[in-house]
C-alpha cells in the first residue's frame, strides 16, 4: 500500500513537471515562475517550502522524546514569519528579481555584495540540503526496503527532474500540493489520536498487544547490586551515575537498568542491542525479522489512575490529561558502553516523568541550568526568530507573485497554514509519545509510526507526504542554490555573456550539479542529527543575511562595503562558533567538554557581531562611496 501511494505520488509530480516544462523557457519563468502565481497558491507553497523534514519528522520526534522542548522549535519557527511579514515581504518584492542577492544588491550594484550574498546563499542552502537528503534516506529505507544510499540517489534524481524541467513553476506546484496534503492529513492524524484517547496500555487499536515491562527489587552493598530472585551475570557502571546489569530472566540473558531512588534499587526491564562478532543481538537473541526492538512509549498513570482504557476526548482534555501532575509518562532513554566481552552494548531504558514536567521547558534545554546553558537557549530562540526571514530559498518565493500586496497576502496565508500545522505537531508528538509507537532507536519516524497504529492506509499516505516534504523543500533549495551559481555568480558577478535561453540552460546545469552534490552529502552525512543541521542553517542565515536586509531597509548610511563585510563576518563567525562547539566535538569523536566554545547555538554572538560590522564598515566607508556615486 505504502509503495503504491508513494509511486503514484512520484509519477504525478514528475508528470506535472513535464507538463509545466514550457513555462521555464525564460529566466523569469525558470527562477520566478513568470511572477504570476496566485497569492493563495504561493502562501500554501510557502508552507510546503518551509515545512521541511525537520519540521514534520524532526519536531514530532523531538516532542515525542522530550515533550514541550520540541514544541519550542514550532513556536520559534512560526514567530520568524512575523519578521518576514512586517519587515521583509513587501520591500524585498519591490527590490529583487530572481535571487536574495538581487534584493540586497539592488541599490548598490556592487561586485562585493554579489559575491558575498551568492556564497551565503550557497552555504545556507547546502546546510539545509544535507538534513533533507539524510531524512530522505531515513524515510525511503524502511518504506521501500532499499539501502540508504539508493534512497538518497532516488530522491536526488526526482528533485533534479522537477527543477530542471520547469524550475520554479513545477517547484511551486509540488510545494503547494505537499503543503496542502501535509496540513489535511496531519489534521486527520490528530483527529484520530484524540478520538482514540489516552490509555495506560496502548495496543495500537488491538494490532500490537501492549507489552508490560517487569521490574525487580534489588539491594546495593559496596557498590554491588544484588537481587534474590535472579542471577546477575555482569554489572556495568557508566559515566553519569548510570548502572546496568546483565541478568538471566525467563531463560533469556538481557541488560536491565538499575534505578536507584532514595536508597532503594529497582531493576527495570529494558531493551538492548549488542554488536557481537556474528551479528546484532536484540534483547538477548539474534536479530531477525521477528526479533526487532519493540515500539515503546505509554502512560503509566493518567491523573494518578492505572489500568485506564482508551476513551475519546477533546483536544483540550487530551493536553490537560497529559499535563496533570499525577500523570506519569514513560519515556525511553539510551546509553552505550562496552561490556566485559569487548562488545558494544546499547541499552534503551525506561524513564518515568511526571506530566507537568513533560509539558514545560527544561528536559532538553536546561532553562534551570547554568548561565551558559541558559544563554544557549536564548541563542537558539533568537536564531529561530530571526532566521526565517533570512533563508534564501524562502525569500525567492516573493518573486513568484505579481505585486508587493500579493507578497504580503501570501505571507499571511503561510502564517495561517504553518501556524496551524505547528499546533498539530504538539498533538502528533505527544500522541506518538504515549501510544506505544515510538522506535526507541530513531525518533524521526514518530509521526509515520503513529499513523501506522491507525492502519496501513494512513501510514501509506503519511509516509508518502513525508517523502513529498523532502521533495518540496529540496526543490526550493536547489532553485535557490542554482540561482546563486548561474544568476548571481556566472551572469552578474563574472558577467559571462549569455542570451536568455543560455541563462536558463546555465540554471538547469547548475541544478544538476547542486543536486549531485546534495546526493553525495546525503550519503556522507548518513546518521547525523537532522534537527541540529537545520538549526545550524537558521543560525548562519540569521547571522549572514538578516543584518544586511534590515539595515538596507532602515538605515540610510548603509554602504555596499558594509553589507558585504557583514555577510562575510556573519558566515565566518557562525560557522567557526559551530565548528568549535561541544555538539561538533562529539561528531568529531572528541570529548565535548574539550570544546573551546561551551555552547551549541552561535546566534547570540554572531548576529550582533554581523550588525556591528555593518555599522562600523558603513561609517568608515561613507565618504568613499558618496564620492564614487
Amino acid at each position: 500500500m505504502a509503495i503504491f501511494v508513494f509511486v503514484a505520488f512520484v509519477v504525478f509530480v514528475v508528470g506535472l513537471s513535464l507538463y509545466l516544462g514550457n513555462k521555464a523557457k525564460t529566466s523569469s519563468g525558470y527562477y520566478a515562475a513568470g511572477g504570476n502565481i496566485h497569492w493563495g497558491v504561493n502562501g500554501i507553497a510557502f508552507a510546503g517550502d518551509y515545512l521541511s523534514a525537520a519540521s514534520f519528522l524532526g519536531i514530532c520526534g523531538l516532542i515525542a522524546t522530550v515533550g514541550y522542548d520540541g514544541f519550542l522549535y514550532s513556536i520559534g519557527y512560526l514567530a520568524g514569519w512575523i519578521v518576514a511579514l512586517f519587515v521583509v515581504a513587501e520591500p524585498l518584492k519591490k527590490l529583487g528579481k530572481y535571487t536574495f542577492t538581487d534584493a540586497v544588491d539592488a541599490k548598490y550594484n556592487s561586485r562585493g555584495i554579489k559575491l558575498a550574498a551568492a556564497v551565503s546563499t550557497l552555504v545556507v542552502s547546502i546546510c539545509y540540503l544535507i538534513p533533507q537528503m539524510v531524512g530522505a534516506g531515513v524515510l525511503v529505507e524502511p518504506l521501500l526496503g532499499i539501502p540508504h544510499a539508493w534512497g538518497v540517489m532516488m530522491v536526488g534524481a526526482i528533485v533534479i527532474t522537477i527543477v530542471a524541467t520547469a524550475g520554479m513553476a513545477s517547484t511551486t506546484y509540488v510545494q503547494f500540493l505537499k503543503g496542502a496534503l501535509l496540513i489535511v492529513f496531519s489534521s486527520v492524524l490528530v483527529g484520530a489520536v484524540v478520538i482514540r484517547g489516552l490509555s495506560t496500555m496502548p495496543d495500537q487499536g488491538g494490532a500490537v498487544p501492549f507489552y508490560k515491562y517487569s521490574h525487580i527489587e534489588a539491594t546495593k552493598a559496596d557498590g554491588k547490586i544484588q537481587a534474590a530472585s535472579v542471577d546477575l551475570l555482569e554489572q556495568i557502571d557508566i559515566k553519569g551515575g548510570l548502572t546496568f546489569v546483565r541478568l538471566n530472566h525467563d531463560g533469556r540473558e538481557a541488560w536491565w537498568y538499575a534505578s536507584e531512588t532514595d536508597g532503594t534499587v529497582t531493576l527495570k526491564e529494558s531493551q538492548s542491542v549488542v554488536a557481537k562478532a556474528n551479528g546484532k543481538w536484540i534483547n538477548g537473541a539474534p536479530e531477525s525479522e521477528e526479533n526487532q526492538l519493540r515500539q515503546v512509549g505509554n502512560l503509566e498513570k493518567v491523573r494518578g489512575q492505572t489500568n485506564i482504557e482508551p476513551v475519546s476526548m477533546s483536544l483540550f482534555e487530551f493536553l490537560a490529561a497529559i499535563t496533570d501532575k499525577d500523570t506519569i509518562v514513560r519515556t525511553w532513554k539510551n546509553a552505550s558502553f562496552i561490556n566485559s566481552a569487548g562488545e558494544k552494548v546499547t541499552v534503551y531504558y525506561p524513564h518515568d516523568v511526571a506530566g507537568d514536567r513533560i509539558m514545560r521547558p527544561g528536559l532538553k534545554f536546561k532553562v534551570e541550568g547554568t548561565l551558559l546553558e541558559r544563554l544557549d537557549f536564548l541563542s537558539l530562540m533568537l536564531a529561530l526568530f530571526l532566521g526565517t526571514a533570512a533563508l534564501p530559498h524562502i525569500l525567492i518565493r516573493y518573486y513568484t507573485v505579481s505585486s508587493p500586496a500579493s507578497a504580503r497576502k501570501s505571507t499571511i496565508v503561510a502564517i495561517a497554514a504553518i501556524g496551524f500545522f505547528y499546533i498539530l505537531t504538539l498533538f502528533m508528538g505527544l500522541g506518538a509519545m504515549v501510544s506505544g509507537t515510538m522506535n526507541p532507536a530513531d525518533s524521526n519516524m514518530a509521526a509515520p509510526l503513529l499513523a501506522r497504529s491507525f492502519g496501513e492506509l494512513l501510514f501509506a499516505i503519511i509516509s508518502a507526504i513525508a517523502f513529498a516534504t523532502v521533495l518540496g523543500t529540496v526543490s526550493g533549495l536547489i532553485v535557490a542554490a542554482s540561482g546563486a551559481v548561474a544568476h548571481d555568480l556566472f551572469d552578474r558577478y563574472f558577467q559571462i555573456k549569455m542570451d536568455d535561453r543560455q541563462k536558463v540552460m546555465a540554471g538547469k546545469v547548475s541544478a544538476f550539479a547542486i543536486g549531485g552534490i546534495a546526493i553525495v552529502l546525503g550519503i556522507i552525512f548518513k546518521g547525523m542529527n537532522v534537527s541540529f543541521l537545520v538549526g545550524l542553517a537558521f543560525a548562519v542565515a540569521a547571522s549572514a543575511n538578516l543584518p544586511a536586509i534590515v539595515m538596507l531597509l532602515f538605515w540610510k548610511k548603509t554602504t555596499a562595503r558594509g553589507i558585504a563585510a557583514s555577510i562575510v563576518v556573519g558566515i565566518v563567525s557562525s560557522l567557526v562558533l559551530i565548528a568549535l562547539s561541544p555538539e561538533l566535538f562529539t561528531l568529531y569523536g572528541m570529548n565535548p567538554l574539550d570544546a573551546p566554545i561551551p555552547f551549541s547555538n552561535p546566534g547570540i554572538f554572531s548576529i550582533p557581531l554581523s550588525f556591528i560590522t555593518l555599522v562600523a564598515v558603513s561609517l568608515l566607508t561613507q565618504k568613499k562611496e558618496t564620492a564614487a556615486a
Binding site: G35, Y68, I82, F86, K97, A106, N109, P361, I412
Partner: protein, 107 residues
C-alpha cells in the same frame, strides 16, 4: 545600470505608512516573544502553573504566540489594504495607474 526587479511595482504611496505600521507591529510581537523567553529563563517553574482548562502557562503562552501572530497578520493586512485603497482614491488620475500596478502588479 541597476538590475531591475522582475515586476515593476510602481510608486507605492502607502509605502511609508505600511513600513511604520510593520515596525510597530513587529515591536509588539517581539516584546510578546521576549516575554515568553524571559519567563523561561528567569522563572522556569512559572511555566508549569495551570492557567486555563487544565493547561499550563507554557502551553497557553506557546499557542498564544502562534495565534497572535496570525491575528496580527490579519490586522496588518486589513490596515494596509484600507490605506492603499484610500490613497488610491485620493491620487490624481495619472498616478492611479502606477499605484494600481503596485497593488495588483503585472507579470
Amino acid at each position: 545600470m541597476l538590475h531591475e526587479p522582475a515586476t515593476h511595482a510602481g510608486k507605492d504611496p502607502a509605502g511609508p505608512y505600511k513600513m511604520r505600521l510593520g515596525v510597530w507591529m513587529f515591536i509588539f510581537y517581539a516584546l510578546f516573544y521576549a516575554g515568553f523567553v524571559a519567563i523561561n529563563l528567569l522563572s522556569p517553574q512559572a511555566m508549569g502553573a495551570i492557567v486555563f482548562a487544565g493547561l499550563n502557562l507554557a502551553t497557553v503562552y506557546g499557542m498564544a504566540l502562534i495565534i497572535v501572530a496570525f491575528i496580527e497578520a490579519l490586522i496588518y493586512n486589513a490596515m494596509c489594504s484600507k490605506k492603499e485603497a484610500e490613497l488610491e482614491r485620493k491620487a490624481p488620475k495619472g498616478k492611479k495607474a502606477a499605484s494600481k500596478s503596485n497593488k495588483k502588479g503585472r507579470a
